[in-house]
């Protein structure tokens, strides 16, 4: 894969950036996320998660199943604030 390949489409992060961070010593998903915003976008890591974890596994010699993914955050899919407010107000009635 070309190092300029974008592996996080939400935050435009390239493979090269991820590899550089890993070689600098940022070897957990959460650390890489905090610097690059990988996993913070609308897809919440659904696309980039596996790719980053594979890079961490390759660089550290770990089995990918032992590489920790980020904390999953609610909501599962993007929900409009207005809709939540509307439903919330129904509870008040």
């Amino acid at each position: 894969m070309d190092e300029n390949t974008i592996i996080c489409r939400c935050s435009d992060v390239t493979l090269k950036e991820v590899r550089n961070l890993i070689s600098e010593g940022y070897i957990t998903f959460e650390e890489i996320k905090r610097i690059t915003r990988i996993g913070m976008g609308p897809c919440q890591g659904k696309t980039c998660g596996q790719l980053v974890m594979r890079e961490i596994a390759l660089a550290t010699g770990k089995n990918i199943k032992d590489v920790k993914f980020q904390t999953n955050r609610p909501p599962v899919v993007g929900v409009k604030l207005g809709l939540i407010a509307e439903e919330g107000r129904k509870d008040e009635d």
């Binding site: 935050s11 957990t28 959460e30 650390e31 905090r34 610097i35 915003r37 913070m40 976008g41 609308p42 919440q44 904390t71 955050r73 609610p74 909501p75 993007g78 929900v79 409009k80 604030l81 207005g82 939540i84 407010a85 509307e86 439903e87 919330g88 107000r89 509870d91």
Partner: protein, 382 residues
């Protein structure tokens, strides 16, 4: 991990990294920072990314002003290879009661003593700054154009890298399980990765500060409160300043990458160390946004999270050199403002540890104030 150190700092957030950097810059060798998870995993990495100077006490105004002056040049001072993303896009504090307007006027008088460029705005002026603000339930606003946004991850990373370059040893995923005290003196730290002999320990753990202080037998009057935040999908720039309301329990700003970040606290929360998300928060937040900033309610929430405010009785930090246990220091109890006070925390704590003349006299922020009742209550906290 080294087995002895001149200074052990517990906590790898903004405070711990800033204290380590300042001590190393003054030539202290052999500093170890211990972090039970990864750098910036605690309160700093969960904060709302806002920095402001609009406070209601002299002390907070002084600390915030100096911190912002530092942040204006943080990239250069820390020789950071990325960007701390400091954007001075202002804070618009909105008031929905006359009482709050009176409080803002009092606060501004204090702020002006220190050269903080804040001012009162009427509702028309507030709408000029945030055109879609629903002012129908508001009375007025206060504004400071020099307040703003700062990336908590990059800023902590900048201090971390600068400290590392100066020789500080960082041990992540290393949890402190005990602090050894002999004849009222700190002599060592016990961790899950081994022991470190040291005569100086700094508690910079914010959310977990009570638990760490208890290890040396000091009971501090703080508690940790869960505060929650959510982020929306990114959109084109549409809101300059942070909009904040103490009465409506809300802060909301657009980050440089376009997503809106908004948060609030709930003082009815149990005082434990939970950092989970609740549906009550997202629902209450959505209702308040729909009322105050209607166009934002068209945006989708992409994630929500929680962090800990380490609250003190007067909502101001504790900067303390312990009188009971020699060699034990505390920089805790930031009540939600540890990130913005980060640079000064590092400076004043390093001066306290090295017995130097303080840049800002923070002696009033000692632990004894809670015993004598000499509190300096901060009125402006969300």
């Amino acid at each position: 991990m080294k087995t002895s150190a001149d200074i052990v700092i517990i906590g790898g957030g903004i405070s711990g990294c800033s204290i380590a950097y300042n001590l190393a810059k003054k030539g202290v060798k052999n500093i170890i920072v211990l972090e039970k998870s990864y750098i910036c995993s605690g309160s700093t990495g969960r904060c709302g990314a806002g920095v402001r100077m609009q406070w209601g006490t002299d002390m907070n105004c002084k600390i915030a002003k100096k911190s912002i002056e530092f942040y204006e040049h943080a990239n250069e001072i820390l020789e950071y290879d990325r960007d701390v993303d400091f954007k001075q896009s202002g804070y618009l504090l909105i008031a929905d009661t006359d009482k709050e307007i009176e409080q803002f006027k009092k606060n501004i008088k204090i702020q002006h003593k220190y050269g903080i460029p804040s001012r009162m705005l009427n509702l028309d002026e507030a709408r000029e700054i945030v055109p879609y603000l629903n002012t129908s339930i508001l009375k007025g606003a206060a504004y400071c154009e020099k307040d703003g946004f700062l990336n908590p991850f990059h800023t902590t990373d900048a201090f971390y890298k600068a400290a590392k370059k100066l020789g500080v040893e960082f041990n992540t995923f290393t949890e402190v399980t005990n602090i050894i005290v002999k004849s009222d003196k700190v002599v060592g730290v016990v961790t899950n990765n081994g022991n470190i002999a040291t005569n100086c320990v700094v508690n910079a753990t914010n959310g977990w500060s009570k638990e760490i202080s208890e290890m040396v037998g000091i009971d501090i009057p703080v508690y940790s409160e869960r505060h929650q935040i959510l982020a929306t999908e990114p959109v084109e720039p549409m809101q300059g300043p942070m909009v904040m309301s103490f009465g409506l329990n809300l802060y909301v700003q657009q980050s440089p990458e376009g997503s809106f970040i908004m948060g609030r606290g709930d003082s009815n929360e149990p005082r434990d160390l939970r950092m989970t998300s609740s549906w009550e928060f997202i629902e209450e937040m959505a209702k308040t946004i729909d009322l105050i900033l209607p166009p934002i309610s068209k945006l989708r929430v992409v994630r929500q999270w929680a962090g800990l405010y380490n609250m003190t009785p007067d909502k101001q930090p504790i900067y303390e050199k312990s009188k009971d246990v020699e060699g034990f220091y505390m920089a805790v109890g930031f009540s939600g403002h540890g990130f913005m006070f980060g640079p000064i925390t590092g400076i004043v704590m390093s001066e306290m540890i090295l017995d130097e003349e303080p840049t800002i006299d923070v002696s009033m922020l000692n632990l004894n104030r809670f015993k004598t009742g000499n509190l300096l209550l901060e009125p402006s906290v969300v």
